[in-house]
């Protein structure tokens, strides 16, 4: 049932991916900037340039180029990066795990923090606690993630240098891991020291990504939670003799999460988009950082590959949200 739902949604996503591929392919070729000019030494002869253009297939028409690229892409070959001279596939696969770990870590922080803010605000409704949470969410929401990145860097990296502010892992540590999912592997292998160092490096960029999302979740969830607290079933739970905490966490929160998930869903995709700048700021070796370099170098094959990966991530996130939504709401499950 769920497997079929996932498969059909992924099939429906295929046209989206094709559309993204076409759009990006045309766009990067229409905007000014020549990848060959970026890569060769000044003073190269026009003959050399023409030869290189031929080598990368850039001398053909755009539809022709697309047909060639798409044919190879279907076979899993997304071409070779012009600036890094490695296959796009291997570059993306090497960098994607760190971005995924960062995004998931940030999401977990955002959900935990946002839920805590909402529950705290509702528990202290009409009192100072509520005003404080409202002020905190308002503030966190009005500051964008890259400003948070700079602020956090300043406070925890410079004023009180408690946390590392660049990279993914201390350069002196060689974990010797088989996968690129360092944090997952470190935890599975019980390498506590390495995991600790990885988390220390993740904390600031993840927090910068998470704070605006946490504020958004906090605000939306708080208002839907406050509404749930007025429902008859909450009154009945009170009359059954349950404590306020138990009622909020055990009765109301799940129902309140249903509208909150649909209202904050789009924000999760913003978080993935946010990784691009945040990774750059924290010199974090993920695909976002790679994407910025690829754009600067006009590395067409790499840009195309990366944008497809981002599009795929957006699709997966939306699919995940739909599944969470259905899991939370029993009324949707048998539809």
């Amino acid at each position: 049932m769920i497997v079929r739902q996932v498969l059909s949604r992924l099939l429906q996503a295929l046209p989206t991916l094709v559309g993204v591929a076409v759009l990006v392919f045309v766009l990067v070729r229409v905007v000014p900037g020549d990848p060959i000019a970026m890569m060769i030494a000044p003073g190269a002869s026009p003959d050399d340039i023409a030869r290189l253009r031929g080598l990368y297939g850039l001398d053909r028409s755009i539809p022709e180029q697309f047909a060639i690229w798409a044919g190879r892409a279907l076979a899993g070959d997304f071409g070779t990066s012009i600036s890094l001279r490695q296959s796009v596939m291997s570059l993306v696969l090497a960098r994607l795990p760190s971005t995924l770990e960062l995004a998931v870590f940030a999401t977990v922080i955002a959900i935990a923090l946002g839920t805590a803010l909402a529950v705290f605000g509702v528990r202290h409704r009409g009192r100072l606690g509520e005003a404080a949470t409202d002020a905190a969410t308002g503030f966190a929401l009005s500051v964008p993630d890259f400003i948070w990145a700079l602020l956090l860097m300043l406070v925890f990296g410079v004023l009180a240098p408690l946390l590392p502010i660049s990279g993914r892992l201390d350069p002196s540590v060689d974990p010797g891991f088989v996968t690129r999912f360092y944090l997952v592997e470190a935890l599975l292998r019980g390498r506590v020291a390495v995991a600790g160092d990885l988390v220390a490096h993740l904390l600031l960029p993840a927090l910068a990504l998470a704070l605006p999302l946490a504020a958004m979740i906090g605000r939306v969830l708080k208002s839907s939670l406050a509404e749930e607290m007025l429902q008859d079933y909450v009154m009945l739970a009170r009359v059954k003799g349950f404590s306020r905490w138990r009622i909020i966490l055990g009765e109301a929160l799940r129902n309140a999460a249903i509208p909150a998930v649909s209202l904050t869903g789009v924000q999760f995709t913003f978080l993935v988009g946010g990784t691009v700048l945040i990774e750059k700021i924290f010199s974090f070796p993920g695909i976002g950082n790679l994407a910025i370099d690829a754009v600067i170098n006009r590395d067409l094959p790499l840009i195309q590959g990366l944008i497809l990966v981002f599009a795929l991530m957006f699709i997966v996130i939306n699919l995940g949200l739909d599944l969470v939504y259905a899991a939370l709401n029993p009324r949707l499950r048998h539809g």
Binding site: Y233, L236, R244
Partner: protein, 288 residues
């Protein structure tokens, strides 16, 4: 023995406007007491005061609510939590909204027993099955696995009634338990509540606007308007000879099969004016 003894209970909005005026009412063990009145008469306010769930804008200004001899006025939340669900339970008005839409019936039936009776999950489940049989639900095993939206309104009200009897409370507050139901289901539910009440020896404060319901299930009754109890006594006596003009007017305004619809009359303005004057006199005599 007296289960509930409400004595001289008055309540007012924060602005000072009284909502309950010197309400007194006694319910003995195993007795069903009907609290009748039009909407806004203050009958639900009495029910909420007993349960300690008055709206934030309302506070009690005088009187006592003695449950098994112990005054509940001023009881803190912790004290209420030990009492509610175990010794005092509620049958809510609207069965459609009183069950949590995202929890299975089993969870919503067993939680209260596990909390107050300390039952294991299995023991609570067994007791839930017994209770569902008592409220005449067929295939209780299947119902336990259901979510509220998969049950009809009547089924949900049966589940809620089963929940209210789960911990063998001494007192149940039934707040218009049949108002939201289909007329054909109303009758069955009333008969069932009456049967359960007799078997378990539970006292019930039965809040309703329907005199027909009172006649079917209640032994004693109080008629309320403007937050005051106008008349109180055995249902049979009041039905035979209503003492207050308002009660007579209420009877005249109740549809009956043996009378044409044209015979229905609204409560006369003069009667309402008299009651309003009495309420004002009460407020003037004892300003809040």
């Amino acid at each position: 023995m007296t289960v509930l003894d409400i004595a001289g209970l008055s309540a007012a909005l924060h602005g000072g406007r009284p909502v309950l005026r010197d309400v007194s009412l006694v319910i003995g063990e195993g007795e069903v007491h009907g609290l009748v009145g039009m909407s806004g008469a203050g009958k639900s306010m009495v029910a909420r005061a007993v349960l300690g769930i008055l709206p934030a804008a309302v506070r009690l200004t005088a009187g006592a609510i003695r449950f098994q001899g112990r005054d509940l006025v001023g009881l803190d939340e912790r004290g209420y939590r030990r009492l509610l669900g175990r010794d005092i339970a509620l049958i809510p008005q609207d069965p459609l909204s009183a069950l949590n839409p995202s929890r299975r019936i089993e969870a919503q039936m067993t939680d209260v027993m596990r909390l107050h009776l300390g039952l294991s999950a299995r023991a609570a489940r067994d007791r839930a099955l017994v209770l569902l049989n008592e409220v005449r639900i067929r295939d209780p095993e299947a119902v336990l696995r259901r979510y509220p939206h998969e049950l009809s309104g009547g089924m949900r009200q049966r589940v809620l009634i089963a929940i209210s009897f789960a911990c063998e409370p001494r007192l149940i507050i039934a707040d218009e338990p049949t108002t939201a139901l289909d007329v054909t289901v109303q009758q069955q539910i009333l008969v069932m509540i009456r049967g359960l009440q007799r078997r378990h020896g539970t006292a019930i404060l039965f809040v309703t606007h329907d005199l027909g319901v009172v006649a079917k299930v209640c032994g004693r009754m109080s008629v309320m308007h403007e937050g005051m109890v106008l008349e109180q006594g055995a249902v049979a006596d009041i039905m035979a000879a209503p003492g207050h003009a308002f009660t007579r007017a209420l009877f005249a305004a109740t549809p009956r099969y043996d009378r044409p619809v044209e015979a229905l009359a609204p409560v006369p303005a003069a009667v309402l004016a008299d009651i309003a004057a009495a309420a004002q006199a009460f407020d003037a005599g004892r300003p809040c």
